[in-house]
């Protein structure tokens, strides 16, 4: 016994196993029939599609096991298309598997690497070309070319400047001003404190000036959630307590995390839940974050009542609402 380890040898491609259809004409005819049936089924599918498109109305419904009741027109067109396409594919594959030659073929791989002679030629060609261009010998051309290309490369960036305005203080401000009434969303009705029972919530927006239109941009900044608790349930600093009115507290509805609407109020726990990433805010502690990825409490709106007894903002928001940004100082 020698000391060399002898590996197991490659026995080579296994002997070809013939299919029934290769030798038996009956099997071949059967396979041919099967392929034809599949192609025929495809045609039926197309007919179903055409029939459903033209004759089935879209207010008709049909019952299918597992799926239940569903629109008949859409199902007919869809299943017709599905059968038509699937059966062409199945037919083609079955044809290839049973009737087309299935003897394995061997092809040789060629090395990708060019031979050394070609590589040397390549290097020579590039070098010759480079020296013909003469960049190396002509630094003035090189530098001025660099200047030209570099400057013109900057212009696309410049041309995009008017994509949008600069933010300026847009992110820092909302429409809320002192004395603005809170109105219901939807409905635009002003609200009195006695309209809200303990445990009630109201979705609100600032009242519009006459003739003013409210845009989605406004809603995205101004949406405010009103919640009424019993005053003794609050656990607030004196200042924040003064921002409430008879147990009614107001928060920006736009989540301080990533801007979803935080309107999910759990009455018993006094928690607000944002359904996007499950940040949870404690209403009794000025919407302090008690769970989840939000890093800041929801900004609280300072509210009071006006001369006619409707709830109004006493001041605008004292901090930017919504998600954080670089310029936000806290």
């Amino acid at each position: 016994m020698t000391n060399d380890i002898e590996p197991i040898k490659d026995p080579g491609l296994p002997a070809h196993v013939h299919r029934k259809a290769d030798s038996d004409p009956i099997a071949a005819a059967r396979a041919e029939r099967q392929v034809a049936i599949l192609f025929g089924l495809s045609a039926v599918g197309t007919l179903l599609l055409i029939y459903s498109y033209i004759f089935v109305k879209n207010d008709k419904f049909i019952f299918i096991p597992i799926i239940g009741e569903t629109g008949a027109q859409q199902l007919g067109i869809g299943m017709g298309m599905a059968i038509a396409l699937f059966c062409i594919g199945a037919g083609a594959i079955h044809w290839a598997k049973t009737l087309m030659p299935d003897e394995e073929v061997i092809a040789q791989r060629h090395e990708f690497r060019s031979d050394d002679e070609d590589r040397a030629e390549f290097v020579k060609t590039v070098k010759a070309g480079a020296s013909a261009a003469g960049l190396g010998r002509r630094p003035l051309i090189k530098r001025s070319l660099g200047l030209a290309l570099g400057l013109s490369g900057l212009t696309p960036l410049l041309l995009l400047r008017d994509l949008g305005p600069l933010p300026k203080d847009n992110l820092q401000k909302t429409s809320w001003k002192a004395g603005m009434r809170l109105v219901t969303d939807p409905g635009d009705r002003p609200i009195r404190p006695e309209d809200l029972e303990v445990g009630a919530v109201a979705q609100t927006l600032p009242q519009l000036a006459p003739g003013e239109e409210r845009t989605l941009n406004n809603i995205g900044k101004d949406a405010v959630l009103l919640i009424r608790l019993r005053p003794e349930e609050f656990n607030l600093t004196a200042e924040r307590l003064s921002w409430t009115h008879e147990g009614i507290i107001a928060f920006s509805k736009i989540c301080s995390h990533m801007g979803c609407a935080v309107a999910l109020y759990e009455q018993q726990t006094k928690h607000l839940l944002c359904p996007c990433h499950q940040s949870t805010f404690d209403v009794t502690r000025a919407a302090k974050v008690i769970f989840g990825p939000a890093a800041r409490p929801l900004p609280q709106l300072n509210i009071t009542v006006d001369a006619e007894g409707f709830l109004v903002a006493r001041t605008p928001f004292t901090e930017p609402i919504g998600p954080s940004f670089w310029e936000r100082s806290s």
């Binding site: 002898e6 067109i77 869809g78």
Partner: protein
């Protein structure tokens, strides 16, 4: 010569006179493609892309990519008189007044989901079999690029109808942009043409979704396929298959029929899903307004893992010198995915650096024979799966009577603890399988037939395995670990050679294997019998 042959000959001659096509057509029509079902996964992506182009073009004939406000007066009564964007209204029109419109919307969206599923399973096949090694590293990078762009394209696509669910997704995307330090608020205002939501975003992403990204996809997919064509497809090891050949079937007619047929299969399955399963029922979501939200809001699955990462993030935010950095957004939303995708793209180079293997490979690995790579893959999959599950934590909690709080904590801890466990378990599994292979070669297959010997002992009859199987189980290479110098020429451990120490260690870990059975072992065993 028949009339048909004569005409065909004339046409071919006409084209060849002008292009010289006969020469390369002859060569390429007989090109050999190896046949394994897992090689069709990439085709799922390719055909889904074609389906997306076709169904998407259909949709563009009716879709109005404008955010201008309209009042709905179409056929869906629960939205009568409701204010909405023209984009949403036109999508309702496609769904309810255009025959086949809703079907096409559903086919388009299901095709997008299948496209992404195809990319992931194709990536997993390429990864676990090592098909990304030289000379195919560049193709791997293109593939990772297609994955990333696919995620973006899908997100932009389902945001086009401007419904409540996708609009919420755009709000979150805007928050990520806004959170970028220094330039975030500027880029957000440029992208949206001002404050969120504005009226510029949907028309702009329409251009990106319909023109820019499909163009880039076409270019990348073409290069991707040309490289596969030119470099020839890899093949699984087996009898008669070597690094220097390709064993399979010719393009014409077999491969054309099978691959062409598979296109119709993928289209048919997608149409089937479009017919029997509802997807993105925007009429139920309602039009987008920032003051509304639904419980259980998630992005499509290929972004679900990102959402899960954001949900489990700790509430980290720093405020310094009048500026805020939201780590709770940047880390899960940009930094971590950036690291993951970069690592993924560079993996072929990392692996060849770690193992020192710089040779060409055309034979695939069986995953069990590369335990380190397989275990790293299992680790990455576990991480992604935990994140993905957390993305749906509210729906899962509701279904299985758990709490979202439990799911969140499970995910926060699980995403750190479970991947290393997956690594260890997978590596052990691979080594066990190697041992089982070795036993199979040396001792044969257990037949389950017991024989009692004269002395009373029971033994099981083992059947020797075929020569082809034995070759399959032992043809793989077992790379020796690197032994780079850990001290430089002066005998000092300087930082330059610290790299070598790391490489040595990693390649040693990668080289852990059960020695494969050899003919010598077999003969020795026979001697014992």
């Amino acid at each position: 010569m028949t009339a048909r042959e004569r005409i065909a000959g004339n046409v071919a001659g006409y084209v060849d006179d002008r292009t010289g096509a006969a020469k390369w057509m002859k060569k390429n029509l007989t090109k050999v493609f190896p046949d394994h079902w897992s090689f069709l996964l990439g085709e799922i992506c390719l055909y889904s892309f074609v389906i997306l182009l076709l169904s998407g073009t259909f949709l563009t004939f009716w879709f109005d990519p404008s955010q201008r406000e309209v009042i709905y007066d179409g056929g869906y009564l629960p939205l009568s008189g409701v204010k909405m964007s023209a984009a949403y209204a036109s999508t309702l029109h496609i769904s309810f007044e255009v025959r086949g419109g809703l079907l096409m919307r559903q086919i388009h969206h299901w095709a997008a989901l299948i496209f992404m599923v195809g990319i992931v399973v194709h990536l997993l096949r390429v990864y676990f079999t090592g098909a990304f090694r030289k000379p195919r590293e560049f193709n791997w990078i293109i593939g990772v690029g297609l994955l990333t762009l696919g995620i973006v394209e899908g997100f932009l696509g389902y945001s086009l109808p401007d419904d409540l669910l996708s609009g919420t997704g755009i709000r979150i995307a805007e928050a990520i942009i806004q959170a970028v330090p220094l330039v975030g608020s500027y880029i957000a205002f440029f992208a949206f043409g001002g404050t969120f939501p504005g009226e510029a975003f949907i028309p702009r992403i329409y251009t990106v979704h319909v023109l820019l990204l499909p163009g880039i996809f076409l270019a990348l997919i073409t290069v991707h396929l040309m490289l596969v064509w030119y470099q020839k497809h890899t093949q699984f090891p087996g009898p008669g298959r070597t690094e220097k050949n390709v064993v399979g079937y010719p393009l014409m007619p077999v491969y054309m029929a099978k691959a062409g047929g598979f296109f119709f299969i993928v289209f048919g399955v997608t149409a089937f899903l479009g017919a029997v399963a509802s997807i993105n029922p925007i009429w139920l979501y309602g039009p987008y307004t920032p003051g509304q939200i639904s419980a259980g809001s998630q992005p499509d699955w290929y972004m679900g893992w990102l959402d899960g990462l954001v949900r489990m993030s700790p509430p980290l935010e720093t405020h310094a010198f009048g500026h805020t950095i939201s780590w709770n957004i940047l880390l899960p939303g940009l930094i971590l995915p950036g690291i993951m995708f970069t690592g993924l793209a560079l993996y072929p180079f990392i692996e060849s650096w770690a193992t020192g293997d710089k040779r060409e490979h055309h034979l695939l690995d069986r995953p069990r024979n590369v335990p380190n790579r397989t275990a790293i893959g299992a680790m990455a999959l576990t991480f992604t799966l935990v994140s993905l599950l957390n993305g749906g934590n509210d729906i899962i909690a509701q279904q299985f009577n758990l709490t979202i709080n439990q799911m969140m904590w499970f995910s926060r801890i699980g995403v750190l603890v479970l991947p290393p466990i997956a690594f260890i378990v997978t590596k052990r599994l691979c080594l066990s399988l190697q041992r089982a292979d070795r036993d199979l070669v040396l001792h044969g297959r257990e037949t389950g037939r017991l024989v009692r010997m004269p002395n009373g002992e029971f033994t099981e009859i083992h059947e020797p395995i075929s020569a082809e199987k034995a070759w399959l189980l032992t043809s793989h290479e077992q790379i020796a670990p690197l032994e780079l110098p850990e001290l430089d020429s002066a005998g000092v451990r300087n930082p330059g050679v610290l790299k070598n120490k790391l490489r040595n260690r990693i390649s040693r870990a990668a080289a852990v294997a059960v020695p494969k059975a050899t003919e010598t072992d077999r003969l020795e065993l026979e001697d014992h019998h």
